[in-house]
Symmetry: C2
Subunit: 370 residues, 2 copies
Amino acid sequence: MSAQIFFSRRIRKTPFEDRVHENGAKGFTVYNQLPLAALYHSLEEDYWHLREHVQLWDVHCEQQVEVRGPDALRLVELCTPREIAGCAVGQCIYAPLCDEHGGIVNDPLILRLAEDRFWISIADSGVMLWMKGLAVGLGLDVEVFEPFVGPCALQGPKADMVLQQVVDIDVSSIKFFRFVELELAGTPVVIGRSGWSGQGGFEIYLQDPARGLDLWDLLFEAGRPHEIRAGCPNLIERIESGLLSYGNDMTLENNIFECGLDRFVKLGKRAEYLSRTALDDVAAKGADIDLVRVEFDGDKAPGLRSTWTIRSADQPVGFITSATWSPRFETNIGLASVSIEHAAIGQTLNILVGGETSPRSAIVVEQWPS
Amino acid sequence: MSAQIFFSRRIRKTPFEDRVHENGAKGFTVYNQLPLAALYHSLEEDYWHLREHVQLWDVHCEQQVEVRGPDALRLVELCTPREIAGCAVGQCIYAPLCDEHGGIVNDPLILRLAEDRFWISIADSGVMLWMKGLAVGLGLDVEVFEPFVGPCALQGPKADMVLQQVVDIDVSSIKFFRFVELELAGTPVVIGRSGWSGQGGFEIYLQDPARGLDLWDLLFEAGRPHEIRAGCPNLIERIESGLLSYGNDMTLENNIFECGLDRFVKLGKRAEYLSRTALDDVAAKGADIDLVRVEFDGDKAPGLRSTWTIRSADQPVGFITSATWSPRFETNIGLASVSIEHAAIGQTLNILVGGETSPRSAIVVEQWPS
């Protein structure tokens, strides 16, 4: 199943992409019609480096959807069961978007740039057309569009030290899920303490795509004393950190309660939202399935192309949504969607790993140490 | 820029995919969160084979969006300036979808399965969420969803002979852009005379994903006497045939008149449609740019990663959107978006091919022989 990736104009080019290639990215995926590196050296080497040092990531594929105008807050509120009204300007909030059936449309970070202006920093699904369709249908006074703004990210324990070398402000003053606006490499950027790893760091949203390589070079040079490398979201690290991936661990077929995201629902929130009735119903009855962490035996798990069936007493009770070998715990780890009666911590299960005929034994665990 | 493609569950698996790998696809792209092979042997070898014989393509990535219910026709009409009312059950129609600004959202084939039931067979953009957003916003009585139905395609001059071996009906009775429903390999399919090549053939929509390999094998066996191969949409062939690619040759930034698609606008159509005012305005003023065919000099054109600037008298007047070397015409050919005053047939232009510093000379041509 080894094959080359083919790019064309349809897979849009990122402002940082030349450096990604120059730094030797070996593998790519496509995310929001944009390329996303998946591998530089090896999953394990990239993983250890991310945990110990600092990496610069091209995550322009976290395409922004800008929502702006008098009805901007109303539209954003409509799309999520989280309460957005309390999100201050300069703050960001992780807010799953849910459709009228409670299904998850996307699970973005939302940045509030002004009272009436938001960036929805999206996972891999067509949020712009969804929100624009709603706005047009409802006749809202709002613009919904994709500015060609996307972040690069500094991730890893040395991220603060690197960023401190290129900004005049005290970077420790940027609190978690807050952002500041300033200039870097002569171009306006938004810098937020956020990112798709559990190792800490920043996302830096470039507002002038023509200056992408300048921004990259500035950050990379600042990182040299700290052993910076080009990097990318790492499968091992994100599973260990319990970061869910839209499309892998949840889809439009799942409601939010089925994905262990209960804490991001504010039932009875004041503003109108599309999923109110559907989610109230699920909350009243309880979800039938849950997304849990599992460890499982045997050789290093292969790449997961589609879900792997989970059984209990020979009955199918769910499936693995993401999995990897953890070099730190020296076992296979994964995320699994299982029926609620098999979701308790300590539950033993059997997994049919892709292509294998005899099942491996698995156990539901609480979480992995950070 | 050579790198591997990484798959996960997020890039959904197609029902035919195992055969695509077994037949040695060397390159892939991602289209609607689904894999699409881009290359088997070489672009040129694949091209000649497609023109002379017959190929079986996995084009499941032409994800269907099903629109069903009392307001189905109203919703479909709303999305396009083509008139849909006259499309009969059993017929399909190429109908660009346009937003409220006249921008092209997608350029699908629409199949009318029943008076109140359509499949939108989409190019690469999030049509399901767009149409669903509109429907929810407008409170329409309609369901909009993605059935896991996708076509494989038989394309090439011998396609009729191959299909005739596996169906009881006379395949010549299936007229262009008409479809029939029947059973193949024990599963219901929809077979339409359509497809993304100029070589003729069929798209075969599988309604039970579990039977994909059976369907593939049935068609492949029937094709053996006709030198069938696994294949894929071919860059050379589709440019020679003047088939536009959404995301490459047109985007949401383009209105339909800018893409040479004027004939698919029915100004003043009876039903309500979102883009009426915007397109009426463009039609009254005339479009500023047009999409044209060009031939250009020099060595074989490299792969196009992003647009190449076109100049006339040292002024930028447009850009190349798709390009390839044509082994048949022994010249480079491409599609170009140029300002209207430089769009006439016979116009000479200069192209800055990616990475090169001296421009190549180009000419706008009418069309290439089929």
